[in-house]
């Protein structure tokens, strides 16, 4: 996962953009295959603050919805509504201690 630096919306809400990497194996038409993709995402408010403490490469579960990037590009962007680091808070704490 790549994280952009946290910034604020004009209304003063913290906001962070990121690229979510995904890697797994899935079954397609009865055959297992590997899946590799990237998805642009954005988080606002408290989630943005939590996320900004994370470091690239961390694993997490993300819940959200997809919305078009803007009026010109209809590419989907993942808007997070909930996140959970897969191994609890450990990574986050370790990252803080190292930093």
């Amino acid at each position: 996962m790549e994280l952009a630096p946290m910034r604020y919306t004009p209304g003063g809400v913290p906001m962070v953009g990121f690229v979510l990497g995904h890697e797994s194996r899935q079954v397609e038409n009865g055959i297992e295959r590997s899946v590799l993709c990237e998805l642009q995402g954005v988080a606002l408010g408290d989630i943005a603050k939590t996320l900004s403490t994370a470091v690239a490469g961390m694993e997490m579960e993300a819940i959200g919805f997809l919305a078009a990037k803007n009026q010109r590009s209809k590419m989907p962007v993942l808007h997070l509504t909930n996140i959970k680091f897969v191994e609890g808070n450990e990574h986050g704490l370790q990252a803080e201690e190292k930093g």
Partner: protein, 723 residues
Amino acid sequence: MSIVRVAIPVPVPQLFDYTCDHAVPTDVGRCVRVRFGRRIETGIVVELPATSDIAPARLRPVEQILRDTPAMSADWLALTRFVARYYHAPVGEVMALALPPELRRATTVDIRDDDPLLALTPAGHTALNEGGRPSRARRHLAALVEAGPTRKSVARQWPDGDATADLLRRQWVYPAAPANPALTPPKLPTLTDEQSAVLDAITTAKPGFFPVLLQGVTGAGKTEVYLRLAERSLALGKTVLMMVPEIALTPQFESRITERFPHARIVSLHSGAGDMARSRGFLRALEGDADIVLGTRLSVFTPLPRLGLIIVDEEHDPSYKQQEGVRYSARDVAVWRAHHQAVPIVLGTATPSLESWRHATDGRYRHLRLTKRAVAAQMPTVRLIDTRRAKLDGGLSKPLIEAIGQRLARKEQSLIFLNRRGFAPVLACPSCEWVSACPHCAANRVVHLNDRRLRCHHCGFDSPIPIACPDCGEQDLQPLGRGTQKLEVHLTERFPEARVLRVDRDVARSRGDWLALLAKIHAGEADILVGTQMMAKGHDFERLTLVGVVGADAALYASDFRAPERLFQQLMQVGGRAGRAHLAGEVLIQTEFGDHPLFQCLKRQDADAFARLALDERRQAGFPPFTFQAMLGADAPQLEDAIAFLQRARDDAMTDLPAALMLYDPVPMRMHRLARRERAQLLVESTERAALQQFLGVWVPRLYRLPAGRELRWRVDVDPLDV
């Protein structure tokens, strides 16, 4: 029982008759209190007619003639009546505009000099000669002896200035009568040959009306010419009227005058001065008690019994034209006044208005020039930077960024000029069509990110930046475009070692703020200035050697035919801030239209070439100054009502339209909605000024009788600036 004819500030183009049992001819020009409807108004007696058209029984008596205040002079009455006639405004409204606030309110004004010259009394001399303990008061006395009679305000600035009040209390000093207003400090700057030639041309002209267009490049020392002319006028016992576009912006100018003429009684009239100060200045001028009147457009109405010379600095400046109420052009009124009172008038500028330039080339004005800078060795070099294919970094091109870097290394100042305040001119939603439109105007609200507000720069509507798009809920709203705040943020990031100072109306809210900012710049406490047009006018910063112009192209897209003229004037003026002292100056202009003739003239700094070019265009298009215009504007809550009124006005005119007149169709104005009112305009044009005036004289009185809705307002603008 006699009849007095009174001008009252009401929107009706007529005078009103009252009776008065003790009116005498010297009451003409005096303020009177009269009953108008249910109110009491302050009016001015303009005549004592023998009879009235109104039956004597129906005339009301005057409540009071204000005899404590001197009567307005015949000149002043003639001036205001001319303005009412030429601009087709009710004479009572013109007089009310020309009168200072305290007179309108009929309060008594103490006109004693509040800044007298202080000189030593015999007791003061004795106290000084006795020696005694070397106190602050004695040191201050000694300083006064050294300097001679000195203005109180000046003496207070001296090291022991605190003791001034003490000296007055002990009666060691007294307010002395000014000896010679033309007295100047012994060491004056040496005049250049060009300055001397200009002075000779004006001073050797035969007395009477003598209009001069003084076209001098930036930094050519026009002010020194003004001061020498003023000195000569003062020596002859005459008063000088000096007009500037905006006094608050150029405190330097004011202090140069007070320093040059320490004994002159200087009256400073501008909106920054308090009501009482303005009224006092006006009355002192009326009594002939002012040697120099310095002021903005309103000062053209100051009564000046000893008038000897009028100077209009930056005569091209649009702020000489009042844009509300009585829409007069103070420059044009000044020219009329000079003619009426038979005195010389000097219109000074680096970039003449096309109107004045044409008069000068036609020989109606004497065209005098200053082509070389007085102090600096040369004019700044002007370079155009093509931004069509260049990659911009926060709106700044590579050459401009490098040039700023060089100035930083040399410890010189740079000014980046962007005539748009705020962070970004519009906030837009990336996910839907929403933009930060003003609910009351046909304009967008501007993003002010520092205090997180959206502000309409037209009606002042102010609201917080919404957290999310009001239409679709998107939170990541985008500020589009660039204002001074954004540029400031970017420059601070780009040059972290530099001290970046933004100078616009948002930082310089009060005169105090503005003076503090100027002091900071003069003291060299800023490296990069980001400024709007506030920075363009008249300033002289010694270490400022680079002017970068950003976002100038926007003006080329404007539909106003005067937009190029204004852009040229503005860029010449702001460019002129570069390299005014001994360091060479450079001007970099970012544009996508480097081949545009305007920018080519700018590059050569050739105001004449631009004037010729622009006048050719105007001639071909039949625009002013080749035609004469008046605009009837109407506004109402509904656009149809405004248009309908203008259509009635047009139909009315068409019944007997003179051949030399041309009436356009009523159309919505470019800013068709302002502060919840829909606005429309009807343009009247003629090839002859006299024909236009004659037509307006017949048509405007008829407009008062046209049916108009209660909510409709209309006005006539003669020689409008914005068409």
